[in-house]
Subunit: 446 residues, 2 copies
């Protein structure tokens, strides 16, 4: 199995990571990317949300030996900073002291990873489009976007790491027995930008993920190394209060003045950003199987999710780590590995898709809800006192390597338990005295 | 709006029916079909299940003036004939005296409908493939399958009546905001054939839909005019007891001898049919919206369902009838009609998809279940006594024009009501005496 020739489609985050794993295993790896080399050209940009690397992502980066290099690109965010309409701030820690997620620009991360993969020995081919696979999914029909030349590829393995709109998946979709679903949210998003202060510092708290929760919509901001923030507005695509209604600068200013007054002074390019940047869609993709013939899907190509748990990339990175461990366990016998991989991984990718949807509601609505905050306070205290017996769901997802499917089950169980205690009339005054042991017992499921 | 030019893709049952409606409204209609003219060539066949026309289908056929012609092709089936493993027969009426569904061969029906549509003025173009639409869904890129010549079409309306694997839908699927799901059953199917008896008569009861229910799988047979039956085996695709295990004539014979002994003498070509005919898949497609630009999906292209309620064609025909009524109501203003059509029709196509899945369980398993049979007996009696206050679900679907979504709600409600009565220990002996009024009141929701 050594020196097997693998073609990876997509030089994004998962494609470049996987190429490093496979190079380390002794494979010959070619990576084909539809876009031009984004290291040479200024990124088109205007439609990316900053990423939040958490523990699953770090594990994979560590396994291919680039964790330390990537840490230099990332800004720790130990919690959420909630902005009320009146400008009041409230900080909510994500986990325990010393636990944090990490803001990183997608573009910077991708460039660093392609550089590292290339250095490791992967060969990158930019401007190369896959047009289709043959029906057996063994041959890729390609086109050079610059010369227009068409050619075919018949490697030992064709791996689709080509994202939410995967061309490999589109070919598989036409084959018998391929289950597939794509579902759009009613919300879409727009990238905005807070530039650095005059002295190069961050205009608002650097070490936090900022949220302006407004029930059915929200604004978020994640810090960048240069003192700026990448800001994202999530809003209904159409309808009464929606992107479709914000048709001129007057309406835009009124909208921001009403809902986000404290951030307005920090958005000097609001008009240009809002009307110049494209509006992005939010889509969830579920499909199965993830393989056919010699072709195999990984990352967003197999399971695109919405960005509200900050887990899309982390899940894709964990895909690679899990696959690598199975290749270890089965001596690189892909015919054994792939069925096990897809059967065991699928419930987890389904679970994080569902958790991301739940977290969207949490971010835009519940974080500003007193009941929700109180439930989190009770859970945090139990986690602090019984760190080995109880892990809050957010920590399971972001600061552990426990299966996403278990986190989803815990989400439901923990919320039920905490909601029961909320019914007690004296809970708010007595939770630490009268009820704590009972709460702890219930949450720890002892 | 008169003399609008419409291109319909697909000369199947829905495409040819819709062409007749639109011709009657004064449109110019061209129908493009990928296959060769099936009136000239023997049908490839070997993978079709007989159709069962019921009231929704007849209504549409009546509206375009071909009901009487089609009635001549159909054989009434007033009920199911259940075949036990020991050969015992049990007849279960579908509805009241004089109510029946109608067996018709897909091929014969399609030929009759294309002939009628052509006579009415629709122009059919066979061997014409649609390759793709432009991203705005206003232009169709076509290819003549015989000459290889490529050309474009820019009619006022492009209507996709091109079935479960619709090419129009595939193009729409790549556009922003298009929700889509395709889901395969674990079962697939195989067409078999009972030839006529030597004297040309039917070898088993002509006026019935025959079912050999075997819990997880089943055999069905529908009568043809020539004395034959089209037989279909539905079975797991793979696994322990499945198509995949029936690898030679010995295993095939053993399978039929064990589960379907009474039909074996009537299947002289079992070996050739089973190993010669392809195995068909069973897929459900849901998507939304059904329109984009000037393109619009109808019938299976918008909502393919599995065949177990015999409603795929009936639903597609009702699509055309509903659309036609809306064109009447809105003076052929398609920009008004399509949003109303898709919004009001979608819950009904979703409901019949769900009912078809429920009916698969009913056909292969429940029809042989004493509890199920007893529930049906109670419901039938109530329907007989209170025909205006209570309609059993099967009758709502097959013998009424009530919305499918209402039938699905009734399915759940009626089953709950009847299951409650089943709990009473003396129900079987006392249902007509002690309980009937109570049952009737509950079912009629009085």
């Amino acid at each position: 199995m050594q020196n097997k020739h693998v073609a990876i489609f997509g030089a994004g985050l998962v494609g470049s990571l996987l190429s490093m794993y496979l190079i380390r295993r002794g494979y010959r790896v070619d990576v084909y990317e539809r876009r031009p080399d984004f290291r040479k050209n200024a990124a088109a940009g205007g439609r990316s949300i900053n990423l939040a690397i958490s523990d699953r992502g770090w594990k994979a980066l560590h396994e291919v030996g680039i964790e330390e290099a990537i840490r230099k690109l990332a800004i720790p965010m130990p919690g959420r900073m909630i902005h009320a309409v009146d400008g009041a701030l409230q900080f909510q820690a994500y986990g325990k002291e010393g636990q944090y997620i990490n803001s990183v620009s997608r573009g910077d991360l991708n460039i660093a990873m392609v550089d590292a993969a290339e250095k490791a020995g992967a060969v990158f081919h930019f401007d190369q489009r896959i047009l289709e696979m043959d029906p057996e999914c063994n041959t890729a029909y390609m086109e050079d976007a610059v010369t227009g030349k068409k050619y075919t590829l018949t490697p030992d393995l064709l791996i689709g790491a080509d994202g939410a709109f995967s061309m490999l998946r589109l070919t598989m979709m036409k084959t018998d027995g391929f289950n597939y679903a794509q579902q759009y949210e009613e919300h879409s998003y727009k990238e905005l930008h807070i530039p650095p202060a005059a002295d190069g510092s961050h205009r608002i708290e650097k070490n936090a993920l900022h949220i302006w929760p407004r029930k059915s919509f929200m604004l978020i901001a994640l810090p960048n190394l240069d003192g700026s923030f990448t800001v994202t507005l999530f809003h209904f695509t159409k309808g009464e209060n929606s992107f479709a209604q914000i048709t001129d600068t007057e309406k835009l200013d009124a909208f921001f003045a009403e809902y986000f007054p404290d951030v307005v002074p920090h958005l000097p390019n609001l008009h240009a950003d809002f009307f110049g940047n494209p509006t992005g869609s939010l889509m969830t993709v579920k499909c199965f199987p993830w393989s056919k013939g010699n072709a195999f899907l990984i990352g967003d190509a197999a399971h695109a999710i919405i960005p509200f748990y900050g887990q899309g990339m982390n899940c894709g990175f964990e895909d690679c780590s899990v696959l690598n461990a199975l290749l270890d366990a089965h001596a690189d016998d892909w015919e054994q590995v792939i069925p096990v991989y897809e059967r065991t991984r699928k419930p987890n990718s389904d679970a994080i898709a569902d958790l991301a949807k739940l977290n969207f509601v949490e971010m835009r609505d519940l974080v500003a809800d007193p009941d929700f905050q109180f439930k989190r306070k009770m859970a945090a205290k139990v986690a602090e006192k019984f760190p080995d017996q109880f892990i809050p769901v957010y920590s399971m997802v972001s600061f552990s390597h426990l299966p996403y499917a278990d986190a989803l089950k815990e989400y439901k169980r923990q919320d039920e338990v905490l909601s029961t205690f909320l019914q007690k009339p004296d809970i708010r005054s007595e939770w630490e005295t009268k009820y704590f042991e009972e709460i702890a017992n219930a949450l720890c499921n002892l």
